[in-house]
Symmetry: C2
Subunit: 402 residues, 2 copies
């Protein structure tokens, strides 16, 4: 019997999102089911903002950045009457199941809606931060890792070209609580002594003195020093340095992040010219550097999720299971959605060098397959061609259920 | 008669540098001349650090970032005995002429060495800032422009995906005194109302009130606001805001640039989440997004420079002459090196919208051909393959001339 499945994307943007949407839609359409796209994450289910996804809507979206459904961080549990409206709209649309694509927040809401109200839902992990439990990696991470490693390699060549001039370069990666993204910058090196020379992750409390010694040592050895740092680097008390500095030292002023702060400490100590780049949204929006592996895994995770949803195997999330590092082998698995919890998966200690200032070969072995392969968009007039398919106007509210 | 020409690259790195080196070398070799690569810009000529460039050295360097010669900002006029050593080493190597690739500083030194000492030199313009007089554009700019416009388009899609959440994104481009790079971000838009919504350039003194009104207006219209800003944005008195703030308000602290400062002003006024990316070196090192047109022009400018050098037509620089906007037609020209002066070419007023908050169609017409075409490197193991050709060890000092 034909079924009707809703799909939504929550949280931040990342390259694989449209791949998941496409997989969910194609997999359903070929079997005669109906897919309802929910606009802007949970908000669309609260507000009743839907549209049917057909071949036209998903045509050409695979190499497109953004998500054709839009996304918000709206949480129905933090919205007045949100949960009731979600349930009401779910019934009003006669949905059989829901596929929710997102990180901890999005999937946490999904899990709770199932646990408390029996809402049949299947999760698909998606976060560039790679901090979800239960899955070996999360769609979104591989592409961001590829972007950051490419950026570090290129900036590293720039810095080394100018090494006669002695300089330091810092690349600030996202990662409020984990160092997966900062660590991915280490892929840039093709040999010993190549950039990045230092990798700082929130898993290791920051020791300024040890860090500055290492910078000086790099300058002595290589005439330059290149550093990858996670935005959420913490001090010995576990407090985020960037946040703390802005709060305690400068009152209301929020004065940029950890990269600029480190740069200033280095300038004070060494007097060397120090540049800091902040990749910010560019690292998760950089669709032109998407990892083909990441896109493939996103697609596979989406296809399996909708298969489960149609089979009414709900309250699970699809996972990426690693079978082997090299040659890389993986498969899609599942895990109970309720087990995802609200804990972020830290970079394990064996992935971090003993002195806490770099990664280990084990981390690189983990990372390498995730950035494999290119999946570039078409270019038009010199730029990636991400033209939008215009959406037809749809009524924002459905009639009340009853 | 076979001649011997030296080549050096000065100033910052950019994608077209190796293309110029390759053109200079190939053009000479096929005619039986000798090309001597000078390491690390003027420093190599001061220190006598040379090496012969042959087919092996320039093999495969076209799609490589960095410069195989290395670069510094060393100025012989600011180095004790520097000028004398330059002249001595030039004679010791029996060089017939010198090709100097660089921006205002590098070419200014070249011009002065000719004027004061008759050193036969030909300049090749190179700067991502595009602020050199006498040439329609400078090799290096087109690729940086393509990188920034791509980044703005991708981040803009990210921001619009999340537009339900209302947010502001700022991309800080290089440009201490001119807005060419910030302006290039405007290429990202494919239609009215698309990112970037605001473009701030140092050519227009910054008016905070007017700016914040525009941000609010964008938020009202589009639910988001995306901004490109040049690092060197100035206040009504013509002082760089970022520098001034750090100096006067926070003493020795150098607290990040204009992007973070604007973000804070916007947060204070609107309460909206505001992100700032700082492209820094990534915009000039981003070889994977090089403009094919930029690389072609760099190559042509290099080939013509060495032709002139071999013909002893010196004290000139090669230029890019624009013959037509659309379809774009250009040719290599020349200009007296002495005319380059120390003035930076500002973005002309007719390229800036009347309210100073965006660019005009005339600016876009100027920019479009410069980012045309892709010239990507090969990828290996998921990343651009920029492997270095190992240089043989060379004695750093030559025996004294005499």
């Amino acid at each position: 019997m034909p079924k009707k499945v809703g799909v939504l994307t929550g949280g931040g943007d990342c390259p694989g999102l449209n791949a998941v949407i496409r997989a969910v839609t194609r997999r359903s359409l070929v079997r005669g089911h109906t897919i309802v796209g929910i606009r802007e994450g949970w908000r669309g289910l609260v507000d009743g903002h839907f549209m049917e996804l057909g071949p036209r809507e998903i045509s050409g979206i695979l190499p497109r950045g953004g998500t054709i459904l839009g996304t918000t961080r709206t949480n129905p549990y933090k919205t007045d009457g949100g949960v009731e409206q979600v349930l009401e709209n779910f019934r009003a649309q006669s949905l059989d199941a829901l596929v929710a694509i997102g990180g901890e927040d999005t999937l946490g809401v999904a899990s709770r809606l199932f646990a408390e109200h029996g809402l049949p839902v299947v999760g698909v992990p998606k976060t560039i931060d790679n901090d979800l439990m239960l899955t070996d990696c999360s769609p979104g991470f591989g592409s961001a890792a590829k972007y950051l490693a490419t950026s570090m390699r290129e900036a590293g060549m720039d810095v080394r070209s100018m090494a006669g001039g002695r300089r330091v370069f810092i690349l600030e990666a996202m990662g409020r609580h984990t160092g997966w993204l900062a660590g991915a910058c280490a892929l840039a090196a093709e040999g010993p002594g190549e950039p990045p020379h230092i990798v700082l992750m929130p898993e290791v409390p920051f020791d300024l003195e040890r860090f500055l010694s290492e910078v000086e040592s790099c300058l002595a050895h290589y005439n330059c020093c290149t550093i990858a740092v996670a935005e959420g680097l913490v001090d010995q008390e576990g407090r985020a340095i960037a946040e703390q500095r802005s709060a305690t030292v400068y009152g209301h002023e929020q004065l940029g992040g950890i990269g600029g702060w480190l740069a200033q400490r280095i300038r004070e100590r060494t007097g060397v010219t120090c540049h800091a780049a902040v990749a910010d949204y560019l690292q998760r929006a950089g669709r032109h550097l998407a990892s083909a592996m990441d896109v493939a895994q996103a697609y596979a995770a989406g296809a399996e999720a909708v298969r489960l949803a149609l089979a009414r195997t709900t309250d699970v999330m699809t996972t990426i299971e690693r079978l082997q590092d090299e040659p890389y082998r993986w498969q899609i698995g599942t895990a109970p959605l309720g087990d995802i919890g609200d804990r972020e998966k830290p970079v394990p200690r064996e992935f971090i060098r003993e002195d806490g200032l770099h990664v280990t070969e084990a981390f690189l072995r983990y990372l390498r397959p995730l950035i494999a392969g290119e999946a570039p968009p078409a270019f038009r007039d010199g730029l990636p061609d991400y033209r939008l398919i215009p959406w037809p106007a749809v009524p924002k509210r459905l009639p009340a259920f009853g």
